[in-house]
Every structure is written in structure tokens, then in C-alpha cells.
């Protein structure tokens, strides 16, 4: 039996939100949770390994775990509908506000306690809501296992994996002993989707376990927000305002104005001469 654990996160749908074409602003009220696109690719990698092995009559077991609020249960059901065997939600008030240091700590505590005999651990390379790309490497650091990031393809081979990846302009072929962790690149393992009925069916099977801080044996006074080594001291919106010129009106008019006044700058950057319209010597 080959045991895979996939860490998946629920993220807000902010960057995929539709905008109001009248006002040109985002319809934020439509923000809802979805499976982080990178986590989805990690899950896809696990599913393909499982399918390949099934073709050779070999068993694979996939556990998906997510740390997050109660709502994150949804993506665990979705993962089960897609083919994961087991889903676990790590959820507790005391876990809220965890930075990557503590997120990886909590995920590792669960794994050490409940599934220490895993073979392969998969994460997305970076989440769409924070994009730190830190949880994967830190989880491996916590478990003291080898890890490789930005993986594009995985091949299993007796006690190890061979992977291909493209990092910093190097195409690499690497071998890693198992157990180990891989993070899956954003361009790899195009994910499958599941029909809504499938997710609903998974909902009815109702076997997503919830694990809280006490179950993990964390200290009574454990508090992820307080215990995080970093602290936000200020949040502000960037000052971006420039003294600028606003052009409005008919397209033909504004484009004309643009070239009349700034044609030189544009043609200079183009490296081509442009006629500065009819009135000669325009600045």
C-alpha cells in the first residue's frame, strides 16, 4: 500500500470574481471559498499516481488534510468526490491566524500523530491567496524529510521518486528518497473537475473527521495568532497618485490627443519615427 497525503487549502475566490461592468468594480459580495488552484494540482498528481498504480494492481491510499475554518470542510468533500480516500479537517479557534511557520507545525503534528507511515506528501507550490510558497518547504523541515519544489512530473520507483522540474532557468531531473515531500508546479497536472452531484454524494457519506488542538495534544495555551514569530504592525493602502492627465471623450479624440502630446515619447520608445500629425513642429 502506497500512502499519499495531500495538503489542500480553501481560499477566497477574489481574483476570479466577476466585475460589475457598469461601475467597473469587483462584485466582492460574491467572494466564496474554493479549493486553492495549486492544491488542486497537487491532488491531481496524487489521483494520477493512484490511477497508474491501479492499472498495475497496486493499491494506493490518498488522505487529504486541510487546516482552516469549518467552511473548509467543503473542499475536503470535493476532494473525496474527486477520488481521495480519506479527508481530515484540522480546525480550532486556536489555529486561526497561523502564519506559515505555525501552519506547517500544525499540519506536521497531525501527520506525526495519525499518519506517520506516509510515503509521499504533496502540496501546491503556492496558494492563490497568500502565495508565500513557504508551507511545503516548512512542513518538510518540520518532519525532517527531503523535499523538492515546483515539480512538473513524478515517476515512482521502488522507495524513491524521480521528478522533473524547471527552476531558475534550469531543467532538472532529480531523484529523491521516500518518504518525502513534493510541491506541484502551477503549470503541471491540469486538474479534472467533478460534477456537482458528485460533491453532493460525498457530502452525504459524511465521514470527514474534525481534529482540534486538544486532539493534537497542543498546549492548553497554544494560540496560533499569538505564537506566530512575525507580527503585522501596520496595514495601509499604497500611495500611488501621480499628477496626471485624464483624457476622456470619443476614442478618436483621445487617441489623437495622446499622440499630439506624447507622440515623441512613444515614438522614441518604439524606435520609429512617427508623423506628428498635421500641424508641424508640435512639441
Amino acid at each position: 500500500m502506497f500512502k499519499i497525503i495531500v495538503c489542500i487549502k480553501q481560499v477566497p475566490m477574489v481574483s476570479e470574481l466577476p466585475w460589475d461592468s457598469k461601475t467597473g468594480t469587483l462584485k466582492r459580495e460574491l467572494a466564496q471559498g474554493m479549493m486553492d488552484p495549486a492544491s488542486r494540482r497537487a491532488l491531481e498528481a496524487a489521483l494520477r499516481i493512484k490511477e497508474d498504480r491501479a492499472g498495475e494492481d497496486q493499491e494506493t491510499h490518498i488522505t487529504v488534510i486541510s487546516m482552516g475554518p469549518e467552511m473548509a470542510r467543503e473542499i475536503l468533500y470535493e476532494a473525496k468526490a474527486l477520488g481521495a480516500d480519506n479527508g481530515v479537517l484540522l480546525s480550532d479557534r486556536k489555529m486561526a491566524g497561523a502564519d506559515t511557520f505555525l501552519t506547517s507545525f500544525i499540519l506536521a503534528e497531525y501527520i506525526k500523530k495519525e499518519s506517520p507511515d506516509f510515503d509521499l506528501l504533496l502540496c501546491g507550490s503556492q496558494t492563490s491567496d497568500s502565495e508565500t510558497a513557504q508551507v511545503g518547504p516548512q512542513l518538510a523541515g518540520e518532519l525532517l524529510i527531503p523535499a523538492m519544489g515546483y515539480v512538473q512530473s513524478i515517476e515512482l520507483d521502488d522507495g524513491m521518486v524521480r521528478v522533473q522540474r524547471h527552476v531558475d532557468d534550469f531543467m532538472e531531473l532529480l531523484e529523491m528518497d521516500l518518504p518525502g515531500l513534493l510541491t506541484i508546479d502551477q503549470g503541471a497536472y491540469s486538474p479534472r473537475y467533478v460534477a456537482l452531484e458528485g460533491i453532493e454524494r460525498a457530502f452525504h457519506t459524511d465521514d470527514i473527521r474534525t481534529v482540534n488542538a486538544g486532539d493534537l495534544g497542543l498546549d492548553r495555551d497554544f494560540n496560533a495568532l499569538k505564537d506566530s514569530p512575525t507580527r503585522i504592525i501596520d496595514v495601509y493602502s499604497p500611495a500611488t497618485r501621480k499628477e496626471n492627465q485624464v483624457l476622456k471623450g470619443a476614442v478618436k479624440k483621445v487617441v489623437g490627443q495622446l499622440f499630439d502630446e506624447y507622440g515623441k515619447i512613444i515614438s522614441g520608445a518604439m524606435g520609429k519615427d512617427l508623423k506628428t500629425h498635421d500641424h508641424e513642429g508640435a512639441k
Partner: protein, 332 residues
């Protein structure tokens, strides 16, 4: 045990392009150490690395810690994270900065974990507060906001920084620096990762970063079909096309056209920005443009506020309008 005030920068020299990020961070570190005291130091691991040691000194490193050994021939997260952790424990720098190359992004979180300290990803600026602490300035998740983050107790204070964020210092051949050569520790752990092949393959083109005219299309372009107009314009003006994240997610253009925190940093003479709202994760990577023309239906979009010329109109129509105008005006 109290540490030093030193600021360390990981020497990520693997290829010339990415090695610039080390030089850029060294420059900023020099500015920070002027406020805190302490030295600016670079860390160099590898086999036959003198050329990089000299390069870092010429670009502002006062001290370079070097471990030069054939065993370090390959760039390896396992070895580097072990060595960095070891040296930090021994020499106790106050701050440790790493370039956000992919290698840097694999290694920094591991080192932070081993040292049980915090790490802020993708800083767009660094500063020192009244108490002499490192202020790590980074886009905060989700909204259009910037957060100031500190590491109140744990040391070193750690951050990663995207290539292109800071300006490197001029190469100074006369600069002098101290070089501290250290032996390879005898207890380097057995490798669990083996490199079978590693080929230099700069497939992501650099045209976007080097172009004098960059044309960025956002979701306001409306559809994949309409987005294609931008390529026509680009060809006409010798420009390159970039995009925002929703656009690459929607597959209107390939992922390597992404401009922003997660993508490329551009510095054209003229930037055209069509239908882009101007989220901080995007704008952080376009502020070096000399001249910005933004086109948006919404005059209050951030991108419009930071443009030199803000055209309040439909992005597709203006794109076609500019194409027409340029065709008319090109002297043949």
C-alpha cells in the same frame, strides 16, 4: 546570548540573471546597516566561487563568508540549508535576506523553520523602525493593501525579496572586503536528493523584462479573442505583451507573460495598461516604467491614478484606435 547587528545576504549566483538579485539586496542592506550599525555580509557556498566573492565585495558586501569545496558543486537545498543554519547559529546575524528565486524560495522557509524564526515572503521594501528592528513591507493577502511586518523576538529576522525590487550599487573595483573562509563541516548529512541532470534552459523569454514598450492587458480586455488585439499593437510598436493574473488563469496568454509579484518585473520606457485595475501585487512590478498610459472605464481604478496619462474609455476601442493611429503615422 546576544547576536551581532550584521545583515546577511545569501549569495544566489547560479546564473547571471538571478545573481543580480543578490546584488540588489546587498545595495538595500547597505542602506539598512547605515541605520543599525553592523556589517553587510554575503554568504557564498560552492566550488571555485572566488569570482562571486569578488563580485559581491564590489557591490557592497563588507564581509563574505565562504565555504568553497568540491562537495558543494551542485546547488542543493539540503546542503545549503544545513550550512546556512549552522553559520547563523555560530555567527548570529541580526537579519538574513534571501532573493526570491525559486531556489531562494525553497531554501529560506526551511532555514527559518530550523532556526525557529519568522519569514516574510516577497517584500517590496525593507526599513528599520525606531527600535532598530527590520520592518518587512509586503503586499498583504487578498486586498489592495500593504502590511508592515516585524519579527519582535526571534532572530534572525528573515525576508525574501523578488528580483527587480531594489537597484544594485555600481560595481566598484576598489571596494575592499573581508573574506572569511570556512571549512566544510564534517557532519554534512547524507543526501536524500540526487541530481541526475541539470541543464541551463532559459525558456522563459526575457523580452518582457527588457522591452522598451510593454503592453499589459487585464481582465478588462473582455475575452481571449479581444485580448489578441494587443499582439497586433505590440508588433506594430515593437512592444511585448504582458498580463495580469486573472488573464493568465483564464489562459488568454501563457503563464510566463504574468507581470507582478508572482511574475515578471518590467521597466519599459512606455507602458500601456489596458483594462487593469491596479492591485498592489501587480503594480509593485510596474513602478519602474518611465511613462504609463492606462486605459480603463473606471477613472478611480488605481492603475489610472498611477498613470501619467489616464484614458477613460473602453480598452478594446482604444487599442484599435491606437493601432489605427500608429499605422497612419508611421513614416514609410
Amino acid at each position: 546570548m546576544t547576536g551581532t547587528k550584521d545583515i546577511w545576504v545569501l549569495g544566489d549566483y547560479r546564473n547571471y540573471f538571478h545573481s543580480r538579485v543578490t546584488l540588489q539586496i546587498l545595495a538595500r542592506a547597505a542602506g539598512l546597516s547605515a541605520k543599525t550599525g553592523g556589517r553587510v555580509c554575503a554568504l557564498v557556498f560552492g566550488d571555485h566561487v572566488d569570482e562571486y566573492v569578488n563580485e559581491y565585495i564590489a557591490h557592497g558586501a563588507e564581509t563574505v563568508y565562504v565555504i568553497d569545496d568540491p562537495a558543494l558543486k551542485d546547488y542543493s537545498v539540503e546542503n545549503y540549508s544545513f550550512l546556512m543554519t549552522r553559520l547563523v547559529k555560530e555567527f548570529k546575524p541580526e537579519t538574513l535576506l534571501v532573493g526570491a528565486t525559486r531556489f531562494g524560495q525553497e531554501i529560506a522557509p526551511r532555514v527559518a523553520k530550523y532556526l525557529k524564526t519568522g519569514l516574510t515572503a516577497d517584500c517590496i521594501d525593507l526599513d528599520i523602525d525606531a527600535k532598530g528592528r527590520l520592518v518587512q513591507i509586503a503586499p498583504s493577502f487578498g486586498g489592495n493593501l500593504i502590511a508592515k511586518i516585524i519579527t519582535p523576538e526571534k532572530r534572525p529576522q528573515m525576508a525574501t525579496i523578488r528580483p527587480g525590487t531594489f537597484q544594485e550599487l555600481k560595481h566598484d573595483n576598489d571596494a575592499e572586503g573581508e573574506v572569511i573562509r570556512l571549512p566544510l563541516p564534517s557532519d554534512l548529512p547524507a543526501k536524500k536528493i540526487r541530481c541526475i541532470r541539470s541543464e541551463y534552459k532559459p525558456s522563459r523569454n526575457r523580452k518582457l523584462e527588457e522591452a522598451d514598450i510593454v503592453i499589459i492587458g487585464g481582465r478588462g480586455m473582455g475575452s481571449k479573442r479581444k485580448f489578441k488585439k494587443l499582439f497586433e499593437l505590440a508588433e506594430l510598436v515593437n512592444g511585448e505583451v504582458g498580463a495580469t493574473r486573472p488573464v493568465v488563469y483564464a489562459d488568454w496568454i501563457s503563464h510566463d507573460a504574468l507581470v507582478g509579484q508572482a511574475g515578471k518585473h518590467v521597466k519599459p520606457r512606455v507602458l500601456f495598461s489596458f483594462g487593469v485595475s491596479g492591485a498592489i501585487q501587480h503594480t509593485a512590478a510596474v513602478t519602474d516604467a518611465d511613462f504609463i498610459v492606462a486605459i480603463n472605464k473606471n477613472p478611480n481604478a488605481t492603475m489610472m491614478k498611477m498613470a501619467d496619462v489616464a484614458i477613460m474609455a473602453d480598452a478594446n476601442q482604444v487599442c484599435s484606435g491606437i493601432i489605427r493611429a500608429v499605422k497612419e503615422k508611421i513614416r514609410d
